[in-house]
Structure formats: structure tokens, C-alpha cells
């Protein structure tokens, strides 16, 4: 099983799907030159008709992708999370709503790949982690791969999906390496990770840690360290937030009786808030301790490294929260 960076896993997913289906194409700013990295070499293989550089017009080209998907194409749009504000109307009023509003007449198989740069001095305008608010909107599938394998497998599934999907690509992971099975090793000859199916990265009995995107690795590290201290942590990675695998989360909490949620988004109305509210309603009688959120501080992202590092969840914060639930 080859090891590769998350960035490369994404690149493989796009390339494989473009080879398989001529309806798939990629568009975004400077995708030919692969400024953000995930479209490396694609322009050479697929040419300018399928790897399309766009003007700086997010609302316009998001909408163009949605319109193209409505009449038979399968666009992949590359952008940063922070640029989605500019194209928000097309994402919400059109991508999310068209199908329902038109009584199911149309499928919109469009994927928005939204890179989340944070943690590296990108400051407030380039560090958004906005998936919680897309969860509120409805009509958009929201996926948050936390490993290289899932990055590839979920993105491939997204491209084949007939609903609009936003793939939030955690910038703290893009350069991280992980094992991704070679297609030849796989039964169907390819890696497709289903939506709505959580991954249990560590089994445990004392406390459930639900970990999202860049927090997955931190939660695994926290679990491994806590193991040494005799605390058995179960790490549940939902992998997709819309749809959300409630069952796996609730089953885990039913077993452990404790729940910590680690989420790189700002804490108010976060994915962590949503998951906490589900657990508080549906697993209440199993709970032996308060549900703890470990999410980002409710501030904008400061540029200074002296400040920024204190914003996000860390292994230490997760460990502290787990210990707190243990009383």
C-alpha cells in the first residue's frame, strides 16, 4: 500500500475520474498551473478543454458549473473556503435549492473542492472553516476527509454522486502522508469510500472522541497517549457531515458513556454543536458526563503565529477534555 500526501490522493481521485468519465472536468483559478497543488499534471493529460482556468469571478463560474451540471456535465470546481463567500448566492440559492424547488426535475452532479488553509499565517481572509454553515443550509453534501485514503475515496464518490457536494480539504493535512491502497490491491479495482459511514480509527470503552477533518489525526494521537495512561478512547471520524452517520456516533456513546467532539471550526454553531445536540437528545440516558466540545476559539484567525496557534484544537486540548469527562 503506497504512502502519499493527501494532495496527491486528491490528484489521483480527479485524474481517475476524468479518465473514466468524459463528462467530468475541472475548473478554477490557475488550475492549469496547479497553483494549489491538487491539479498537478492534469492539464498536460486532459488539455485546456477539461482543465479550465477561470476569471476571478467566483459567483459567475460557480454558477456556470452548476448550470453545466444541470444539463449533463459533471464539473469539479476548485476554490478556497474563503472565496466561497463571494460565490455564496450560487452555492445556496442555486446548487442547494434548485433540485427541491423544481420538484426533483434536475440533478446537479457538481463538486466544489474547498481548500481550508489555516494554521500557517494566512490570516482572517484565508483561513475559514465554514462547513458548519453549509450543514445548516441543506441540499449540499458536505464531506471532510481526515486521511489520505478517505481524501481519495470520498472525492471519487463525490464526483460520481448526483447531488452537489462540497469537499472541504483541510490544509493542515494536504502535505501529510498516509497509506492509500493501490487500485490493484482493491476488490473492485478502485477506492470508493461511501458517504454517511463513519470510520472508527481507534476502538475504546471509556470515552468517544468524534473528530473532524484535521482533528482526526490529533484525536488518534490523543487516544494513543491516553491509552498509556489507562484511558480507553474510541475515535470516531464521521468523514461526511451531510449525510452524518448518527448511528455510529450514538452506538459509540452508548458504549463509552462519554463524548468529546473535536472540530477545527469556530465553536459556536459548529459541527461539534450539532453532534453534541444529537447526542444530548438521543444518547442522553447513556451519558455519564457532560458533552465536551473542543473547537476553535470564537475569534477570527489572527495572522501572528504567537496568537494563531492558540486558536485551534490540539492533541493536548483533546486529552484535557477527555480527562475532564472522566471526572
Amino acid at each position: 500500500m503506497p504512502e502519499m500526501m493527501v494532495m496527491q490522493a486528491l490528484n489521483q481521485a480527479i485524474a481517475e475520474e476524468m479518465r473514466r468519465d468524459p463528462k467530468v472536468f475541472l475548473m478554477g483559478e490557475d488550475v492549469r498551473a496547479s497553483v494549489y497543488g491538487a491539479s498537478a499534471n492534469l492539464s498536460r493529460e486532459f488539455g485546456p478543454d477539461r482543465i479550465i482556468d477561470t476569471p476571478l469571478s467566483e459567483n459567475g463560474f460557480f454558477g456556470a458549473a452548476i448550470g453545466a451540471s444541470a444539463v449533463g456535465m459533471r464539473p469539479i470546481v476548485e476554490t478556497l473556503t474563503s472565496f466561497m463567500w463571494v460565490g455564496m448566492d450560487q452555492l445556496v440559492s442555486q446548487a442547494a435549492k434548485m433540485r427541491y424547488m423544481f420538484g426533483g426535475q434536475v440533478n446537479l452532479p457538481v463538486v466544489f473542492r474547498a481548500v481550508m488553509y489555516y494554521g500557517g499565517g494566512s490570516a482572517a481572509h484565508h483561513s475559514d472553516r465554514s462547513y458548519p454553515l453549509f450543514m445548516n443550509i441543506g441540499g449540499l453534501k458536505v464531506i471532510v476527509p481526515g486521511t489520505a485514503r478517505d481524501a481519495k475515496g470520498l472525492l471519487k464518490t463525490a464526483i460520481r454522486d448526483n447531488d452537489p457536494v462540497i469537499c472541504f480539504e483541510d490544509g493542515t493535512l494536504l502535505g501529510q502522508r498516509g497509506f492509500v491502497p493501490d487500485n490493484s490491491e482493491l476488490p473492485g479495482g478502485e477506492l470508493l469510500v461511501p458517504f454517511g459511514k463513519a470510520a472508527i480509527h481507534r476502538q475504546g470503552t471509556d470515552c468517544t472522541v468524534v473528530a473532524i477533518a484535521g482533528c482526526v489525526g490529533l484525536a488518534i494521537q490523543a487516544a494513543d497517549e491516553l491509552q498509556k495512561e489507562g484511558i480507553s478512547v474510541e475515535v470516531v471520524d464521521p468523514r461526511t457531515l451531510v449525510p452524518l452517520d448518527k448511528t455510529s456516533i450514538l452506538e459509540s456513546v452508548a458504549k463509552t458513556g462519554r463524548c468529546v467532539i473535536a472540530d477545527p471550526a469556530a465553536k459556536v454553531c459548529s459541527a461539534a454543536s450539532e453532534i453534541a445536540s444529537i447526542v444530548a437528545e438521543e444518547a442522553f440516558w447513556s451519558l455519564q458526563a457532560p458533552i465536551m466540545k473542543v473547537a476553535s476559539e470564537q475569534v477570527h484567525i489572527p495572522f501572528s503565529q504567537a496568537l494563531e496557534k492558540h486558536v485551534y484544537p490540539t492533541k493536548e486540548k483533546i486529552m484535557a477534555a477527555v480527562k475532564k469527562t472522566m471526572g
Partner: protein, 330 residues
């Protein structure tokens, strides 16, 4: 241009269909037969009809909140349209869309949109698909003078121009956005003057004359199909009614004068076309009368159809959110 009689008659028929349909909608709104508002297209029929008759069934259109005229001009079913406005199961969107969201994907009607300017990128995207698929489908989008100030229009026109997309931007300049004159919001004299900012032809057309619209559109469609890129058409027109049903409280005279309204009403697009057909002896009085009666009948039938159509079941609330039938609704 030599336009065959069947096209000329079709234009008359479609304009009458819109007119009579809208009159029924107004009637039904008055008696509270449906919820929400609706934005009548009366007075502007020639714009959509002239444009749509110049297109093929396989071509695409998208529209806006003033939403009944475009699909009917493109050949939508009156029954399904009215049932939709009534929120009924047999409506185009099974009652989920209502007046502002008529759509018929089976004949290229990609949908009307309530957010002003929001469907302009969508139509542009359909044109992009057509180009990528190497098909010769063209795409047209109807939007208002008010909408022309939205960034979405700018971005789409620029995109369409640099990519030479087969899309026609049709500004229905009825001179007002609700109560606001375009003269106070559009910095140039005519919206079509903006075409030069996108290196595309901009054509100011008499929006009360369906033949003028048809001819301008025919050239725009030719250009688009030939791969020569987009066109901006501006149909100068007027809405004879208030902005929307239910907004009667805004006395029209506060933002437009009775004189202005009356002088435009004299330029009724249907009267203009009928007179021309009669005068040139292309159609007889009987033929014209037949169109009137027939479209009135169809509109009445649509109203009856809508009234009789069942309401959607509660369970349908949770349908159509997702193409993926396995998706759980939380």
C-alpha cells in the same frame, strides 16, 4: 426578414396565451385561491415570445421572478404552470416551487429564479456545457433592468465573452425595479450600452414588437450557434400592472405617472402584432379571433385543472431534496 405565417401566428398565440394566463392568475389571486405573490408579465409578452420563437426546443432558457411569460413563450404547459402556482401536485414542481420557480427541464426550461440576477450564471453554464459537449444548443436568459446591476450579470457576460459561449443575455428593460426607475440605478442610457464592456454586440430592441425581438434574437442565435459568442439584447418594454400581485398598496402614481402608464398601454404588444397581421392581410379577423378564443379557453382550462389538482401529501415534504434516495433527512 421573411417570417413564415405559422411563426407569425405562433407568436400571436403565445402572446395571447401569456396574456390570458396572467389574467386568470390575477383573478385567482384576488379571490385568494393561492398563497404568496406573483409578478405579471402583461405588457412585456413580445420580449419572451419574440426571443423564444427564434429558438429550438432543445435550446435552453432561464428566467427570473417575473416568471410566467418565459416558460409559456418557450412552450410550457399552461396546466402544469397554473397547478404549480396553486401549489398542487400536478404542478411543474409538484407544488414545491410556486409562481417564481416554474421549470420544465424536458423542454430546456431551466427554471425561473426568485433571487434577482441569480439565474444568469446558470444559463451561462448551460451554454458552457453545450460548448464542451460540442452540441449546438444555445442558451438564453431573461433578466430585468434592475438585475443588470448585479455582479452576477457582469461576471457572466464577461465569462461568456472570453469563452465565446452560445448564450444570449436578454434584458427586459421595463424601466423599473419595483418602484425604482432604471434611470436612477443604471449609469448608462441603455443597458445594452454595456455590451461594449464585454466585447459583444449590444442591441436595443423595441420590446413591444415581437418581430423586432424575433429578428434580433435570430441573429443572436445564429452568432451563438456559429460559435461567435454571446449577445446582449435589450428589449425596451413596460409592465402594465403593478410589480407584483399584493403590492397594490404602493400607488403607482408615486413612482410612475398615469400619463406614462397610459402612453405605454397604447403600445400593447398584442395589439401591435394583431394590427400588423390584419393590415398586411396575413391573418383574417376570424383567425385572430380564433387565437383569442382558443387561448382564453386554454387558460380557463388551466385554471380548472389547477383547482382540481390534488394537494401534495405531507410525506412529499421530504422528497426531492436529494437525488440520492438513501439520504437520511435529519
Amino acid at each position: 426578414m421573411n417570417i413564415p405565417k405559422d411563426k407569425l401566428m405562433l407568436m400571436l398565440e403565445r402572446m395571447w396565451l401569456i396574456r390570458n394566463f396572467e389574467l386568470k392568475v390575477i383573478e385567482a389571486h384576488k379571490t385568494g385561491e393561492f398563497a404568496g405573490g406573483a409578478h405579471p408579465y402583461i405588457g412585456e409578452e413580445a420580449v419572451a415570445v419574440g426571443a423564444c420563437i427564434a429558438m429550438r426546443d432543445t435550446d435552453y432558457i432561464a428566467g427570473n421572478h417575473r416568471s410566467h411569460g418565459h416558460p409559456i413563450a418557450k412552450g410550457a404547459s399552461l396546466n402544469k404552470a397554473m397547478a404549480e402556482i396553486f401549489g398542487r401536485r400536478d404542478g411543474y414542481c409538484k407544488g414545491k416551487g410556486g409562481s417564481m420557480h416554474l421549470a420544465d427541464f424536458s423542454v430546456g426550461i431551466l427554471g425561473e429564479s426568485g433571487i434577482v440576477g441569480s439565474s444568469v450564471p446558470i444559463a451561462t453554464g448551460a451554454a458552457l456545457a453545450s460548448k464542451l459537449q460540442k452540441k449546438d444548443f444555445v442558451s438564453a436568459v431573461f433578466f430585468g433592468d434592475g438585475a443588470s446591476n448585479q455582479g452576477a450579470c457582469h461576471e457572466s457576460m464577461n465569462l461568456a465573452s472570453v469563452w465565446k459561449l452560445p448564450v444570449i443575455f436578454i434584458c427586459e428593460n421595463n424601466q423599473y425595479a419595483v418602484t425604482t426607475s432604471y434611470k436612477s440605478t443604471v449609469a448608462v442610457e441603455h443597458v445594452s450600452d454595456r455590451a461594449s464592456a464585454y466585447n459583444m454586440p449590444g442591441v436595443l430592441v423595441d420590446g413591444q414588437d415581437c418581430i423586432a425581438m424575433y429578428e434580433a434574437m435570430t441573429e443572436a442565435v445564429r452568432r451563438a450557434r456559429a460559435g461567435e459568442g454571446p449577445t446582449l439584447l435589450e428589449g425596451l418594454t413596460y409592465r402594465f400592472e403593478e410589480h407584483s400581485l399584493g403590492l397594490g398598496k404602493i400607488r403607482r402614481s408615486e413612482y410612475r405617472t398615469e400619463d406614462e402608464i397610459n402612453s405605454w398601454r397604447k403600445r400593447d404588444p398584442i395589439v401591435i402584432h394583431e394590427d400588423r397581421l390584419l393590415k398586411s392581410e396575413i391573418a383574417s379577423q376570424a383567425e385572430v379571433q380564433h387565437v383569442r378564443d382558443h387561448t382564453e379557453k386554454l387558460s380557463m382550462e388551466a385554471l380548472e385543472f389547477a383547482r382540481k389538482s390534488p394537494w401534495p401529501e405531507v410525506s412529499e415534504l421530504f422528497e426531492d431534496m436529494w437525488a440520492d434516495k438513501t439520504m437520511p433527512i435529519p
